[in-house]
Symmetry: C2
Subunit: 207 residues, 2 copies
DNA sequence: GCAGACTCTAAGCGCTTGCTCACCGTCGCG
DNA sequence: CGCGACGGTGAGCAAGCGCTTAGAGTCTGC
């Protein structure tokens, strides 16, 4: 992939899904799952939104659950990538923590339809697929926990309970996908900034 | 209702639901909805868990959605009551905020099956029922926002964005229902104490 | 001791669901 | 030009869904 193609792929969220018909179906499924939930969405609904017949879905995906799995997998990869990028950005633990929260929240707000499916439809996955996804989530956990540990070590943070605070920070960010509303007053950037500040207060970061 | 009956009702979560068969069906529905979600749960599943035939459900409830509505209504009443009780307990804003978070979180952890249904199945309600529930949620919002406002006024809190912080505090508490696991290491009391501390840090409460 | 109300069941109706299959148009290629 | 591969459709199947109905058992009040 050239640099230009890579940039285009970053800008177009589902650029890695080909051919185009498969991507159209997947985008339609994200919208439907986010709006009504996985179980309340029918294959006819997905195909209809994509402007295709119900049978077309089964040319590109074996089952409806495979569609959910592909969405969940790509979304979790993206979420982990965001946290890792923030961690790799360098700087003091407090800077990296703030950047992690800011960008993680921005994604959950800006792509709240995708995030809602990714975060709240785990139970609908098959046992194998769920196990795979849970592994990715554990790695996201570790990125945040490691930053907190570092900050405690340098004395920058005052956190008596690192595992508990890790859960709370991630929970706070993830739940943005549930309540965020495009019609609301705040932009994803604003929510990201607010939440980064709140989390720095939680760990009592010393500048 | 005598004081003794009131106490008994408090201890038994669904004590206000009568007759017993209706309560058994409702308890079964809470378990099933929490485990698999509203749409993935069948009326046969609910009746089976209650040890009854599918038709029995329709003697006590007009539809499956009415069952969800009763659960949601009772749960939201309880949630609001918890927050109001904390607010009415007197004391400084920081004490009332801590008590509100502590008891609200304790409920979301201890009754995480009920809370999960109450907080995450709103979309499955009919338009009228959802509107009623949304009204209750707004009142819960107001309790927390008022405490924050008071604390800012007395100078006890340092909160630049009260509406945003209100959303964050409630979101943090509510999401406990999603991740809390009985098999996990923490008790509801412990999570409540941890979260009360984290929230006091978020508002930079001065003792 | 029996009428009537109440609670529950067995059976099943009409419909929707996830998914399949026989078939068809449109390409690239020898 | 003929032909196989590919990506699509219309129709429909088996299963499961929410919910209904006819009738049976039980309990209460007179």
């Amino acid at each position: 992939m050239t640099a230009a193609e890579e940039t285009a792929r970053e800008d177009a969220p589902w650029g890695e899904v080909t051919p185009e018909a498969a991507r159209k179906l997947l985008v339609a499924a994200v919208a439907a799952f986010a709006e009504r939930g996985y179980h309340a969405t029918t294959t006819r609904d997905i195909a209809g939104r994509a402007g295709m017949s119900p049978a077309a879905l089964y040319i590109h995906y074996k089952t409806k659950e495979e569609l959910l799995h592909r969405i969940s997998r790509i979304g979790h990869d993206k979420a982990l990538e965001i946290l890792q990028a923030a961690d790799a950005s360098g700087g003091a633990p407090s800077e990296r923590l703030a950047e992690a929260v800011r960008s993680f929240v921005r994604w959950h707000a800006g792509r709240h339809d995708t995030a809602r499916v990714v975060q709240y439809e785990l139970d609908a996955l098959s046992d194998e697929h769920r196990a795979e996804i849970v592994g990715l989530r554990r790695r996201s956990d570790e990125v945040v926990r490691d930053i907190l540990d570092e900050g405690v070590e340098t004395g920058e943070f005052d956190v008596p309970d690192v595992p508990g605070t890790t859960v709370a920070v991630l929970s706070l960010c993830i739940d943005v996908a549930r309540w965020f509303n495009v019609a609301g007053r705040r932009t994803p950037d604003e929510v990201g900034a607010l939440y980064a500040d709140l989390v720095l207060r939680m760990v009592r970061a010393q500048k």
